[in-house]
Amino acid sequence: MKIFRSSKRIFLVIVFAGSMLGSFVDSVIAQSSTGISFGIRPTKALEGQEETFSYFSYRVSPGSVFDDEALVLNDGDEAVTLKIYAADGVTARNGGTDFTEFGGASTGASLGSHAWISLSVNEITLAPGEEQKIPFRVSIPADASAGQHIAGLVVEAIPEVSTLDSPDAADGEAQFNVKVIRRVGVAVVMDIPGEQISSLEIDNIFLYQQEEDGTTFAVDLRNTGNVFLQSSGFFVVTDRTAENLITTIPLQFDTILPGDAVTFYVPRAARFADGEYLLSVFLEHEGKKVVLEGVGMKIKNGQPELEGVVRENIFSPEEIEVFFADAEKEAGSVWITIAVASFVLAFILGGIIYWVGGKKEAKKSRHVLR
């Protein structure tokens, strides 16, 4: 009987191992079926710097020179030739790190940072499943300013081209041919010691578009510091008297690189009726508050018209604080709900186990008595 039980366990373990292996094989097949697939990543992570599992991050002094390597992989089922290059870091609309196209330049503090990286190759061909370590050298200029400079290592495949009905369009006709370039980028953050300044400005807020299914606002932000930052806060719409709150939209804005200006789109799943409104944005980053308030918006026949700042000092610092405090309270209440629900569930489960155990015990004692 014992032998039977242990062989059953071994069987279960084999099934478990097989299913884990199976899920891996499945994923590879799923990916391969859609064509070429490639990537790039660091080869090692540094202790105490969790981000280095995902991207390169160095704390380095001006004038320092060091070597590292990136791993380039072909996960697809066909050979692939990739262009590999260093690029300046830029912030995408809606935030997050992106990289300039080959030969392009950042307009922020990362301008020219691609030139700090020299690669041993600029093109690589990989067989299906092959991976290759690509050495590169980082040379920090002696006059590099304090703060974070972001570059990237990018691998890029030859473009995929859409199909046309016929090579030439007939008179009076137009046809469209779209090339799709695929890139994978990994950031190289070079953090130069010195004073770190976290500073954010709200340049503008406006109603971007209003359609049947809703409204999209846009918020223009500028990172005027020398470190990348994220921010969160609220988009607030009031009536023209600022007495009545019409809507409050919570905001979570992703990374803006130092020196970059970027637009974030803020959707709202409802239209605004014709009328006059005031738009305000409150943001918080690194414990600092940034506010732009009282931008006038008129809507006539469904068409918005922006008027710039028409009223200042609508909200006192205490009133602004209330928005953030309410959000914190709300987040806290969610955790309290989860904790209470978990306690109740544990209590019920414990009760069931106790009840089942008691029943078994009673059955056993009846059996012994007999």
Binding site: A17, M20, F24, D75, A92, N94, A174, F176, V178, K179
Partner: protein
């Protein structure tokens, strides 16, 4: 005792094998499909064309540090001076068009659910927070092109660049 040891060894071997494989598969990558627009007869009015494409795929297996993808585009040109500004090409990704193939059931989220004009500046359209969406996901973006009334006939070409990035 021996059978217990073999069970332990089998479990250890299973975890080891799974661990090695998952580590090996940790390459953030993206697969796309061609984007097609139907040809049209110019009639002197603005006309809107819906683009078609098959599902795209992100493989973020083993990528626990978060990731995001961006898109940018160029103007359409017909090679004879005719230009359709890139701003007439719009893009969106509905959250309902993101699905799990395998891995973490916490799906990445769309950061551009309503149509927005593309430009030479990239826009982030899908992202995964650190510690989530470690898996393979399909997503189906939507494209819409407004062909302005004053467009000349011809074959127009443009380039779309899709990037998937890890970084701060």
């Amino acid at each position: 005792m021996n059978s217990k040891r073999s069970v332990f060894l089998a479990i250890f071997a299973a975890f080891l094998a799974a661990g090695i494989l998952v580590t090996h598969s940790a390459a953030l990558s993206v697969s796309t499909s061609a984007v097609n627009f139907p040809g049209l007869t110019l009639n002197g009015y603005d006309q809107i064309l819906a683009g078609s494409t098959a599902a795209w795929q992100v493989d973020a297996s083993g990528e626990a540090g978060g990731w995001h993808a961006t898109i940018l585009a160029t103007n359409f040109g017909n090679g004879a001076g005719g230009i359709i500004d890139v701003g007439y090409l719009e893009f969106r990704l509905a959250d309902a068009n993101i699905s799990l193939v395998s891995g973490d059931p916490v799906l990445p989220t769309s950061t551009q659910t309503s149509f927005v004009p593309l430009s030479g500046t990239a826009i982030k359209f899908i992202s995964a927070a650190s510690g989530t969406s470690d898996g393979i996901y399909d997503f189906l973006p939507e494209f819409q092109l407004t062909v302005p009334a004053e467009t000349y006939y011809g074959t127009y070409t443009n380039t779309i660049t899709i990037a998937i990035n890890t970084g701060p």
